[in-house]
Symmetry: C2
Subunit: 354 residues, 2 copies
C-alpha cells in the first residue's frame, strides 16, 4: 500500500464518480442492457476516456455473470500432435462454427498423463469439449463432471448421461474390410491406432487388447475382425505418416510373411504404409493393397486415391459446438451419431497372382 505502486487501474466506480452518475448507470452504458440518455452516456464515455478506463474487467464480469465466455477444448497429448492430425483440425473448424452463436473463445487444454488435472479443475470456462479417445479421457471426465459444467465428448465413452458425438467406427471399418475381402484378399494385416495412453507400438495380443482403453481403436478393430477374425494387427503409437512407415516396414519387409493387403485405422497411417511399400520396391495396389480411415486430403500419393472410410469430421465438431450452445442455454444436450461413407479408391486391387 505504498505510494510507489503502479497506479491502480480505474474501475467503473471511478468512472461513475467522475461522470457524476451512479455506478449502475455507468455499467449500463458499457453493457447496453438498458436505455441511457444520450447526454449521460456521453458524460460517462468522456469520463472513461479521461481515466483510461477501457471497459469492465472481464474477471469481475465473469464472476458476477457466472459466465466467462470460454469453452475448453481438451485434447490428448501435445497440442502440436493434435494439430498435426487433419481430422482434429477439421473438427476444431466445425467446432468454432458450432460455437459461433455463443461467440465464445476456445481454450486449448491438454489432457496428459503427467498432469494432475489442476488445469482442468481451475480453468474459468463455461463448458468442456473432450476430444480424443484415450482412456485418460475418463479421468479428465471425472474432474470435469465434478464441476457441474456442460460437457460434450467426441469419440469416447462418456458414461452417464453425457452427450456424445459418435461415429459408426465398427461398421465403417467392417465395410472397408469387406471391400478388401471382396477383392479376394485373405492374407490381411491391420495397423491400428494406439491402444491406450501409453501409445506403445507393437503387435496386438489378446492380453493387450483386454487392457486397451482407447475406444476408437477398439471399435474399429472390432469391425475389421468381423470380416477378418484372424488377421494380425500392429498398433502404431499415433496417427502419423511416420508411424505408418515404421509399422509398414515391419509388416512388409519379409516377403514370406507379407500380407497382400494392409488396412490402417487412419489415412495418415495408410499413407505411411504406402511409403514403406514403395521403399521396399512394392507397387500399390499391384503388389499390396492399402486402405485407410478418415477420408482426409492427403498429399504425396502421386495420383493414387486412397481407399478409405470418409468420416464427417467437420460436422462432428460443429455438432459438438451446437450441443454446448444448447446446454449453455439450459436445454439438455443430446448425443449425436454420425456415419461414415465408404470410398473405393485406387490403392486397393485384387491380390497378385501367386
Amino acid at each position: 500500500m505504498t505510494s510507489h505502486e503502479t497506479p491502480r487501474r480505474a474501475t467503473i466506480a471511478d468512472v461513475a464518480r467522475q461522470a457524476g452518475v451512479a455506478t449502475s448507470t455507468a455499467s449500463v452504458v458499457f453493457s447496453g442492457k438498458a436505455k441511457v440518455a444520450e447526454a449521460t452516456r456521453e458524460r460517462v464515455l468522456a469520463a472513461a476516456s479521461d481515466l483510461g478506463y477501457t471497459g469492465p474487467d472481464p474477471r469481475a464480469a465473469s464472476l458476477r455473470r457466472g459466465r466467462s465466455g470460454i469453452v475448453a477444448v481438451v485434447l490428448e497429448g501435445h497440442l502440436r500432435a493434435a494439430f498435426l492430425d487433419p481430422v482434429t483440425t477439421a473438427m476444431m473448424d466445425g467446432l468454432t462454427d458450432g460455437l459461433a452463436e455463443l461467440s465464445a473463445g476456445i481454450l486449448l487444454m491438454r489432457d496428459e498423463p503427467g498432469e494432475d488435472g489442476s488445469a482442468l479443475a481451475s480453468a474459468p470456462v463455461d463448458a468442456f469439449v473432450l476430444i480424443g479417445c484415450s482412456g485418460r479421457t475418463r479421468a479428465s471426465l471425472e474432474i470435469v463432471r465434478g464441476r457441474g459444467l456442460p460437457v460434450v465428448v467426441i469419440e469416447g465413452d462418456a458414461g452417464g448421461d453425457i452427450p456424445r458425438i459418435t461415429l459408426d467406427n465398427a461398421a465403417a471399418s467392417a465395410a472397408v474390410a469387406q471391400h478388401v475381402k471382396d477383392l479376394g484378399h485373405t492374407d490381411v494385416a491391420f495397423v491400428t491406432l494406439s491402444l491406450d495412453a501409453d501409445r506403445t507400438r507393437g503387435p496386438i495380443t489378446e492380453e493387450r487388447l483386454a487392457t486397451a482403453t482407447t475406444d476408437v481403436t477398439i471399435d474399429r478393430l472390432e469391425g475389421l475382425r468381423r470380416v477378418f477374425p484372424a488377421a494380425p494387427a500392429i498398433s502404431a503409437s499415433g496417427s502419423l505418416i511416420d508411424e505408418g512407415i515404421i509399422v509398414g516396414r515391419a509388416l512388409l519387409a519379409d516377403p514370406d510373411s507379407r500380407p497382400t493387403a494392409v488396412i490402417a485405422q487412419s489415412d495418415l497411417l495408410a499413407v505411411g504404409v504406402i511409403r514403406a511399400a514403395e521403399e521396399l520396391g512394392l507397387r500399390v495396389p499391384e503388389d499390396v493393397s492399402v486402405a485407410g480411415f478418415d477420408g482426409i486430403e492427403v498429399d504425396g500419393l502421386g495420383g493414387l486415391l486412397l481407399t478409405t472410410s470418409v468420416q464427417p469430421a467437420v460436422d462432428k465438431g460443429r455438432a459438438a459446438g451446437e450441443q454446448v450452445a444448447r446446454m449453455l442455454n439450459g436445454l439438455p444436450g443430446e448425443t449425436q451419431h454420425f456415419t461414415c461413407r465408404f470410398r473405393a479408391g485406387t490403392t486397393t486391387a485384387p491380390p497378385p497372382a501367386r
Copy 2:
C-alpha cells in the same frame, strides 16, 4: 428465487461451515498456501466431498487473484487457416513450451476485420500474443494495449515499446534470391503472401504495394528486390498449396513469358507452384527452378528437397511464451530477434539452355 431452481452449488463458505472451521482455513486447505493441521484438513475435505464441492470457483478466484491463468493467442483470419499453416502450429507448439512454467491455458482468438474487437476487449486473459502480420493487427493492438496487459507481437510492427519476436525476413529473402541469381537466372518471378487483410490475389503494382500493410510480405519482397529489382510479383491470398497452384499456373502457363525461376514467400506456395509446373509438363528444377520460405516439412515433393530459408518457428513461439512469462512476473519484456538459415535444395538449378 423459487424453490425449483437448481440447488445452488456449494461454496467454500458452505464447506467451512459444515466442517466447523473458518472459510479462510478451508480456503487454505485448497490452495495449500499455508500449513493446516492434518485433522482439520481432513475434516474440510470430508465436508467438501459431502457437499459435492470440487474446489474454488475459478471465476471468483480469478477476480480475487487478479489472474485468470489464460493467455490469449490472437491469429488473423479463420482459425482453421491458422492451423493449416505448419509455421503457425510450430509456433503454437513453442508457445506452449514457453508458457509452461505459468501453466497457463491458451485462448484462441481471431482478429478479423469484421469483428468489433469486443472479444479481445472482454476476454478474461492475463496477456496477449499477437501472431500474424496483417495491418489489422495494429487495430487489435490498440484494443489490447488499452487493457494494460502484457503483449508480445510475433512478426508485426508493434510500435511503441511492445516486445516483438522478429525475423530477418528481408535478409533471408535476399539470400534465397542471391542463390537463384548465382545459378544464372535473370528471368525470375515472385509469389508473395497477401499484402493486406483483403488478401486479394493478383499482380503487385507500385500502387498496391504502397497501401500494403502486411509486414512480412513487404519485408520479404524488399529482400527479394534487392537482388532482382525488376522481377514481377503476384500476391497469393494466403499461404496455401492451392494458392500456389493457382498463381503458379498463371505464371507458367504461357511459354513465352515464362520465368526460369519462381521464388515464393512460403514453402506451401512453393509446393503449389511446383505442382502447377508438373501439371504443365515442366520439370523442376530442369525447366523451372522453384524456391520457398519457411523450411517446413512438406510431403508430396516426390524426393525433391525444397530450396528455402529455414526459419526457427518453434523457437519464435517459445520466445514469445518466455517473454509473456517474464512480463507476468513483473520484468520488462524484451524484443527477440531470430534469423533464418538458407538451405539449398534440389528444386533449384541453372536455367535451361536456350
